[in-house]
């Protein structure tokens, strides 16, 4: 008996004839379930009393004014690096929409609707050392309002032990002010034993919706610069924590993998740069190297992550050392000074490079000497923190 040979046609026919599978829920039953869940989610989302919304809007306006008024007086209008950047709402050039012009040049158009009002960038280590007062930094993970992203937020602090800095910011920062949800870590007692972070929650502290990104959030908090490698859970002193879905878990090993970075616009006016790791993707699913990561950074991603690199932009990546890399822009693309989207693109590239262990990045053929806080005619190094939040 000769073995049958499948051919393309047979396979296609078989695929088309796979049986329809029936949903056993009736239409009415399904509607009732959906309706109940929609209402539950809507009610869950109403965390703030109604009177607080105008108050929040006023507070945001005051914060923005508070940042810019003194700055304009002190610096004659020059923006300090990493502070909240004011969106020039009237400018036409503010949308991340890429077009290919007739002569093959890649150009960017900017949409007023998508441009940020409050952008929280990274910081350079040199800026921490440049003042008389000694300064340090720390990163804490928060969830976005839909619990779809774990967003790292960095803070400038006084020098201290890493865990003390984390605990201080968990008390001090009000995530709702930046369009984020409270961190599950705010409900925990966080200590340290021989380089292992101990997180102790009262039973029932973690909501089911917080669970899927909890590991990412914890890794972004304690391991964003490889500070800690392991976390152990306790429940009021007893080993392990009973999660709604994971069950009883003793602890996790922590790692923040190299990953491409994208833009996330919070429902407020805040804009962050986050990686695919923030969206819950596993290390195995990430692009293997920086070159591959940059390739996907021009594509829209799930969970509202938007590209910061324009389509058709082909960057040349040259590894120049164990931790250094040169990135060359094509002739068809030139960075524009005072263009916030372009500065965000540079930030996203630097953060992505850093996540793949390239601490030093030299940009070539940008057409500019400097953009934002960066001198482009020399290697940029010492990027620290991400989405730095400045208290007013």
């Amino acid at each position: 008996m000769e073995p049958i040979k499948w051919n393309d046609e047979k396979i296609e026919q078989h695929l088309k004839s796979l049986p329809p599978i029936k949903d056993r829920q009736s239409k009415q039953e399904l509607y009732l379930k959906v309706e109940a869940k929609v209402e539950y989610k809507n009610n869950k989302g109403k965390r703030l009393p109604t009177w607080s919304l105008p108050a929040l809007a006023t507070a945001c306006a005051l914060v923005i004014f508070g940042v810019f008024a003194p700055e304009l007086v002190k610096n004659g209008g020059t923006k300090e690096q990493n502070k909240v950047v004011q969106h020039e709402a009237k400018k036409e050039s503010n949308e991340m929409n890429t077009t290919m012009t007739t002569d093959g040049e890649v150009s960017l158009k900017f949409d007023n609707k998508t441009a940020p009002v409050s952008y929280h960038g990274p910081i350079q280590e040199s800026s921490l050392q440049s003042t008389e007062t000694e300064r340090d930094w720390v990163t804490v993970g928060y969830l976005d309002e839909q619990a779809q992203l774990a967003i790292p937020v960095s803070f400038i602090t006084k020098p201290n032990q890493y865990l003390d800095k984390v605990n201080e910011q968990l008390q001090k920062f009000k995530p709702a002010s930046a369009g984020l949800m409270e961190s599950p870590l705010q409900r925990a007692k966080i200590t340290e034993e021989e380089e292992t972070v101990i997180i102790d929650w009262p039973a029932g502290s973690i909501y089911e919706a917080e669970e899927p990104l909890l590991k990412n959030l914890i890794a972004l908090t304690f391991s964003n610069e490889n500070q800690k490698y392991k976390v152990e859970f306790r429940t009021e002193g007893k080993t392990g924590y009973e999660f709604p879905n994971y069950g009883l878990v003793k602890g996790w090993n922590l790692e923040v993998p190299g990953a491409p970075h994208f833009r996330y616009d919070a429902p407020t006016t805040d804009t962050f740069i986050v990686s695919l790791f923030s969206a819950g993707q596993e290390a195995d699913d990430m692009p293997a190297d920086l070159d591959d990561a940059l390739e996907v950074m021009d594509e829209e991603q799930e969970r509202g992550l938007k590209p910061l690199l324009p389509k058709n932009l082909e960057l040349e990546v040259k590894i120049t050392g164990k931790h250094s890399v040169e990135i060359t822009f094509p002739d068809s693309f030139k960075l524009q000074p005072d263009n916030q989207e372009h500065q965000m693109m540079i930030d996203a590239i630097l953060l992505t490079a850093k996540s793949y262990d390239y601490d030093t990045v030299k940009f070539n053929n940008t057409g500019l000497e400097a953009i934002g806080p960066y001198q482009l005619n020399k290697p940029i190094e010492g990027i620290k923190g991400q989405n730095v939040y400045h208290y007013q």
Binding site: M1, E2, P3, I4, K5, W6, N7, D8, K10, I11, E12, H14, L15, K16, S17, L18, P19, P20, I21, K22, D23, R24, Q25, K27, L30, Y31, K33, V34, E35, K37, V38, K41, P212, K215, G240, N245, Y246, G247, L248, V249, K250, G251, W252, N253, G280, Q281, E282, D285, E299, E300, E302
Partner: protein, 181 residues
């Protein structure tokens, strides 16, 4: 909300459920996920701008829901394997039981169904959308936010791989010869 739900259900429910089932390969999970799809759709329905067709928009949401679920499963399985105290057999179980509808089919269909799982996620999406859902190349490209050429290439590679694996499967000769289900 009821009116919108009724219309979407009548027009698309069967197709959406099929898509979800063949992506996640588990009836109970597909039933949960289809609820999630409606929740997202109904929440976003007012902001649907009609840039794509309603059909491809719905598939696109269903695709995101399915991928999120698959990734969560993958993460959970890894965690259970590495570090947890309780081992859940159901989480570690490799294969879900075949649905009754498929059990009634010939072995060749069961084999094809099993082989589908060996395809990459991209390939599975393309095969399900193109053949099981009968979407056009253009519609598939819209759902996946890909170029049409990427859809064609992925489809071609997927069929090629399926063919290779199916050729290694024994015992399909007779039933394929008689051409019945």
């Amino acid at each position: 909300m009821k009116e919108t739900f009724d219309r979407l259900y009548d027009e698309y429910h069967h197709a959406l459920f099929q898509f979800l089932f063949y992506m996640v390969r588990n009836r109970e999970s597909a039933e949960d996920l289809v609820q999630e799809v409606y929740i997202r759709v109904l929440n976003a329905y007012k902001s649907f701008e009609g840039k794509s067709s309603e059909k491809t928009w719905l598939y696109s949401i269903a695709r995101h829901v399915a991928i999120d679920w698959l990734r969560k499963q993958s993460r959970r399985n890894k965690r259970f394997l590495i570090f947890d105290i309780k081992e859940s057999e159901s989480l570690l179980k490799d294969q879900d039981p075949l649905p009754d509808e498929l059990l009634a089919k010939k072995e060749s269909y069961k084999d094809l169904y099993k082989m589908l799982k060996r395809c990459t996620l991209d390939q599975q999406q393309v095969l399900v959308l193109r053949y099981i859902q009968s979407l056009s190349i253009s519609e598939t490209a819209q759902v996946l936010s890909w170029t049409e050429s990427k859809v064609k290439t992925t489809q071609h590679r997927a069929i090629k791989e399926l063919r290779k694996w199916l050729d290694q499967q024994p015992g399909l000769e007779e039933e394929l010869k008689d051409g019945t289900n």
